[in-house]
Symmetry: C2
Subunit: 189 residues, 2 copies
DNA sequence: CGTCGTCAGTACGGTGGCGTATGGAACGAC
DNA sequence: GTCGTTCCATACGCCACCGTACTGACGACG
């Protein structure tokens, strides 16, 4: 066959992207080299040119994910009202069809130390951000952090529930209301 | 070798137990026949007498899990104060070293339809129980259910956070306080 | 004391996924 | 055009895990 040479090459980042998609769909164990290659229209030969092994791809994917997730948090800084900032973080539950399952898949695969530390860093960033919001709302240092942890826990749980939403628990469309109520419960005053 | 024949046999339930342990440790993908056999002091030969295949073991394990999880909820009915009932559900987060990672591992593997429906049944039972508690606390039908869903989401999130607790997020020992604050936030009045 | 049912050991084939080896097509430099 | 570099294809070896076939130890029961 020998393929007519269309594009000059395939970047390593394309692989990382595809890897994240695969993880989002089927968990970390779904990160399989050959199917991924097929999806990109190439074979393993390409992969093992770009990466040393499967772990290297995982690392690249994690790095990409962490960068984006961090940017996502910082983008929320634009908004002024702290209440709105927090709400914005929660809206990802309903909104983003891509990031949610990813966060889920990764945070549950944190037995792997690489994944674990990446997840922890991302979580810590979200926590710090929210804690800041809560202090801006008048809470003390200690209370704000505890409240932030609660908010984060609630966020994670909603991610999980929302995945099964198509089946049962929160009747479709209600998720919006949950977000509002969640924020209302969490914010003082 | 031919092993001196110690116990007359190994029940299917023993296999299911071991299976749940394995899942709790390493996720569903850690449910591997031969290591499990080794752990029980036998070989595959035994396994394939008790079970048709690996899936059959998974089914048995799921059934066992679902039964226990259900009993756990109903055991909470004994307590009278609805607030205490809810708190009791949350205490599993800190208390049980076994059930928590199991719930986590299973609820994230719910791509598998078998696992998914089992998890959903268990969740629905917890929801119904909590909703009942909230109505007992004076909430309307609709509000109570929504509040129950929030409580359950918070529960799931705390499970997840608590797993990484040894590393960072909630400083050890604080988990207790979170439970109290969570219940305080959730219950009206 | 045979014989049958129960439970386990051993050995083997099949398959899926990882990683390697090697070759080759396209392209730029000169 | 020749040569080196980049990117990919093909083919293979390897290992882990599943499942099967066959054998064997032991007790129960007649």
């Amino acid at each position: 066959m020998a393929k007519p040479y269309l594009k000059p090459n395939l970047s390593a980042e394309s692989w990382a992207e595809a890897a994240l998609d695969a993880i989002a769909r089927g968990g970390v164990s779904a990160l399989v080299v050959e199917p991924l290659a097929k999806e990109l229209g190439v074979t393993k030969g390409s992969f093992y040119w770009h990466f040393a092994n499967r772990e290297a791809l995982l690392d690249a994917a994690l790095e990409l994910w962490e960068r984006r997730e961090t940017e996502a948090v910082f983008a929320k800084v634009r908004r002024e009202d702290p209440r709105l900032r927090i709400e914005a973080l929660f809206r990802e539950v309903t909104g983003n069809r891509r990031t949610s399952p990813l966060y889920l898949a990764l945070s549950t695969a944190s037995n792997d130390p690489r994944i674990g530390s990446a997840v922890r860093r991302v979580a810590e960033r979200r926590l710090a951000f929210m804690a800041e919001c809560f202090t801006a709302l008048g809470l003390g240092e200690e209370d704000a952090r505890r409240r932030a942890i609660m908010a984060h826990a609630l966020y994670l749980g909603m991610l999980q529930l929302q995945r099964d939403a198509r089946h049962a628990l929160p009747r479709a469309g209600e998720v919006q209301r949950f977000v509002e109520e969640a924020v209302a419960l969490l914010t003082p005053g």
